[in-house]
């Protein structure tokens, strides 16, 4: 029985029709492609009228297959499948050709564009005729959610889900949740104390009956798919028994080993070998850092064990592997700051009084190593002048071309704190001031009134080589003042580098582990940059906060809540439909060679000894089709991407293969 194919060519206003002769494509398809019974062009196929057109033709003309030539299937495939289903046609009897993204938007040559459009339409029609009836799989959604990363975005997401009554596993790599925000002193532009607004959220998360907090833990393995992921978490040994520990802190107090704290104190403060990153850490239990602990290195000491009133220290504790089952996953793994030693001309690491913004945060923080006193590296001298350099490692083609979004405002905040805490003269060296959100420009105005100085220009160098008497003993900021149009040397006591935000160095590994993708520089890629900013290409995996791109606290919190809302809609629906694109082995044709067994990355193919054939577990198969391509016997069929369908597509794409020859060697018309 031959099919009855309907072809619909969309104008997309003038988006497609402006370049492709859509009327001609439709006319040509109607006259030349086999089994086409209707070929129309229409202004906007995705409009409700466009969809109704298809539905009506299916009902009245008995169409058995539908092809729409419009935008990318990633945009409207679902729309048209739904239209087919509405009219009683199996949604997989539909195929889409991307005339807009692949033709109209990338070429201006009307003739060649129209020809390419014909080939794409012909390919879709040839293919759709061979489509098989498929039904999406319906799978239940486990109401539990895994949140990876306990910064403010992860905490927000966890609380939203927990408040709605669903279980959450919050996994944090560090000993405490809180993330970068816990290191900050104040938050711009309201100057709320970061700890005062963050720590209540942290303890709320810890205390919540629906949240299981797994700190000092990392996700090792993820398998499964939307609705039912299986996750392996390694809970690192703390060497402290959580059930017994009261968090009294005597162990830390008595511990004889002090080491530089590179993480929480950004390298300017110390911590003990058994420590809590900061006083309000959640959970309150300390961890033993085995690299610096005397006992772990020399076999002697065990002072913490002796002083612990509840005998909570356990040197024999082992890492624990925990297996979780969750329906959805939210990644909120945050950012790393730019390594300022990479820009050698700014002298960080060489000139002692050049600080990074994170170090400055810790200096300003009343709970920091200097108890909030603004001093130089020697720990006593108060700076009389401070230069703040913007865009360090941001907006720079050598490092990161993008803007880090938060540094201008942080710099203004630092200006305010420095003016408030000291007598220092503060100068900001900026390229462009970007106070773009609510209340930010006002804060900028306020700082100008408070007497912060602003020099517009990218700093060339920070040096201690004095060229004039007033520069002696100072750091000199060499900059072209682009508003004055001249070079300036500004001597200061302290330089603060506003280091940019970068993806975590292991972001790519994390992306791979969770099956999502990264941008060129390593930010996680969202499903759509505007309309789907917290979903990823992988169903059931969402992203929130700075792992997706540089952003400030309000935006991170908004994304955390948004990701939670997306997960909630999945949970409350209770089930999810997944594409039935899986492979299947025909046992009659399988020779049992087992080539496919090794190829499958999901171990979905098993060899059945008894029958001497391989078999695919469809629950594990993700439909990549590698086994289909590799089977020497052609025994494996990939649903919706069968060999026949792809070969048919080839025939369609090369519909005009003989045209060229004809123009080259015109054959005589008379025989």
């Amino acid at each position: 029985m031959s099919e009855r194919i309907g072809i619909y060519v969309c104008h997309c206003g003038s988006n497609i029709a402006g370049v492709v002769d859509v009327e001609e494509v439709a006319r040509w398809a109607g006259e030349n492609i086999e089994d086409v019974v209707i070929a129309r062009d229409y202004k906007f196929m995705c409009s409700s009228l466009g969809q109704e057109l298809i539905e009506e033709d299916i009902r009245k003309e008995g169409l058995t297959r539908v092809v729409v030539g419009a935008c990318s299937p990633h945009l409207h495939e679902k729309t048209f499948r739904r239209a087919c289903a509405n009219a009683g046609l199996n949604p997989y009897f539909f195929q889409m050709a991307s005339l807009r993204e692949q033709i109209a938007w990338v070429t201006k040559d009307r003739e060649r564009a129209t020809k390419k459009a014909k080939s794409l339409i012909a390919a879709a029609a040839e293919r759709v005729a061979l489509h098989a009836e498929l039904e999406p799989f319906t799978v239940p959604v486990n109401p539990a959610t895994l949140v990876v990363g306990g910064g403010i975005a992860g905490i927000q997401a966890s609380l939203e889900l927990a408040e709605a009554g669903y279980p959450v596993y919050l996994v944090e790599r560090e000993p405490s949740i809180g993330g970068h925000m816990a290191q900050f002193d104040k938050t711009f532009p309201t100057l709320d104390c970061a700890a005062c607004i963050l720590t209540p959220r942290m303890s709320e998360a810890e205390a919540h009956e629906n949240i299981t907090l797994l700190s000092y833990s990392e996700v090792e393995e993820v398998s499964g798919f939307v609705g039912s992921f299986k996750v392996k978490v390694r809970k690192n040994a703390r060497y402290v028994v959580e059930e017994d520990c009261t968090g009294c802190g005597i162990c830390t107090e008595k511990c004889p080993t002090s080491v530089v704290d590179d993480v929480f104190e950004a390298g300017i403060g110390y911590r003990k070998a058994i420590y809590r990153p900061f006083p309000q850490a959640v959970p309150k239990y300390p961890v033993i850092d085995t690299e610096s602990c005397l006992y772990f290195n020399t076999g002697k000491c065990r002072i913490c064990e002796k002083v612990c009133p509840t005998e909570a220290i356990d040197f024999e504790q082992q890492d624990e592997l925990i297996e979780l089952e969750v329906g959805n996953i939210i990644l909120a793994t945050g950012y790393e700051t730019f390594d300022a030693t990479r820009i050698t001309q700014y002298g960080y690491g060489r000139l002692p009084n050049v600080f990074t913004s994170l170090e400055f945060e810790r200096l300003c923080n009343a709970a920091g190593p200097t108890e909030g006193k603004l001093v130089l590296r020697d720990g006593v001298t108060e700076p009389k002048s401070i230069g703040i350099i913007h865009c360090v490692g941001s907006r720079d083609v050598h490092y990161n071309p993008g803007c880090s979004a938060i540094c201008c405002m942080s710099a203004l905040k630092f200006g305010h704190l420095a003016i408030e805490k000291s007598e220092a003269d503060v100068t900001s060296f900026y390229i462009d001031m970007r106070p773009i959100a609510k209340g930010y420009e006002e804060f900028y105005d306020r700082l100008m009134e408070e007497g912060m100085h602003f020099v517009r220009g990218r700093v060339a160098e920070v040096t201690d080589v004095a060229l004039a008497p007033e520069e002696e003993g100072k750091l000199i900021v060499q900059v072209e003042d682009t508003l004055l149009g001249k070079q300036r040397r500004v001597p200061v006591d302290m330089v603060v580098l506003m280091v940019g935000l970068e993806p975590r160095p292991d972001a790519r590994d994390v992306a791979l582990r969770f099956g999502i993708s990264c941008s060129m520089n390593g930010w996680f890629t969202e499903r759509h940059p505007k309309l789907d900013p917290v979903a990823t290409m992988t169903d059931g995996i969402f992203i929130a906060g700075t792992c997706q791109g540089a952003k400030d606290i309000p935006d991170s919190v908004a994304q955390g809540a948004a990701a939670a809302a997306r997960v909630l809609s999945m949970i409350t629906r209770g089930h999810v439909q997944i594409e039935p694109i899986v492979a299947e082995i025909n046992p009659e044709q399988c020779s049992g060679c087992r080539i496919c067994n090794e190829l499958c990355p999901f171990n979905a193919i098993d060899y059945i000894e008894a029958d001497a054939v391989s078999e695919i577990n469809t629950a594990l198969c993700k439909g990549c089709g590698t086994c289909v391509a590799a089977c020497p016997a052609g025994a494996i069929t990939g649903a919706h991407f069968s060999n026949q369908q792809i070969m048919a597509e080839l025939d369609g794409l090369l519909f005009d293969v003989n045209e060229h020859d004809e123009t080259m060697q015109p054959e005589p018309t008379a025989a």
Binding site: S72, P73, H74, S98, R100, E101, Q102, I103, W105, V106, T107, K108, D109, R112, A113, K116, S119, L120, A123, R508, A511, L512, G515, S517, C518, S519, M520, T525, M537, T538, I581, L599, P601, F602, K622, G623, C624, G625, T626, V628, A629, A630, G638, F641, N643, I646, M647, E649, L650, D651, L653, L654, D656, V657, N658, H660, D661, T663, M664
Partner: protein, 165 residues
């Protein structure tokens, strides 16, 4: 004598997750590139059966462009490594049968790399344009006397089979 109006027909096999989206992105960003590549979407570049590539040439394509996620970024963990191996074999096979190896190309392009994809397409189109048409289907057409001879041989075979039966 190369034909100045020759427009190569190139078949693209693009993976759904990275490269097809790179093509979407090139479109959204209105990057202008040659319209010679006609794309088939596959879920993974690992789905590209070498038979598809040979079939594309046999059906009249002048070039084949396979595009997938970067190694290490495959949506299906590491299936593009299989693509990489098959690509090497395909190049080797094509060389062995006298087809210029530039007629096949493998391009890694992530969903964010529309520009790289567009540039790769332009480069490939230009190169294949220089190479001229492949004309594979034509080359397999035997001259009439050979066709005649084959028919005769077939008839003799059939006769011989009948006799033995």
């Amino acid at each position: 004598m190369p034909d100045e109006n020759f427009e190569p027909k190139i078949i693209g096999f693009f993976c759904n997750w990275c490269s097809y989206r790179a093509a979407d992105m090139a479109g959204t960003a209105r990057m202008n590139y040659e319209p010679n590549v006609r794309i088939i979407r596959v879920m993974c570049s690992g789905r590209v059966d070498p038979d598809f590539v040979m079939a594309a040439f046999a059906k009249g394509a002048d070039g084949v462009l396979i595009a997938g996620c970067h190694p290490g970024e495959c949506h299906y963990n590491n299936q593009n490594f299989k693509t990489m191996r098959r690509y090497a074999l395909l190049k080797h096979t094509l060389r062995a049968i006298g087809v210029e190896e530039e007629r096949i190309r493998l391009q890694w392009a992530s969903a964010a790399e529309g520009a790289i994809l567009a540039r790769s397409i332009d480069e490939m189109v230009e190169r294949v344009r220089e190479l001229g048409p492949l004309n594979w289907p034509k080359q397999w057409e035997a001259p009439p006397e050979v066709e005649e001879a084959i028919k005769m041989m077939e008839a003799e075979h059939a006769e011989a089979l009948e006799v033995t039966a």
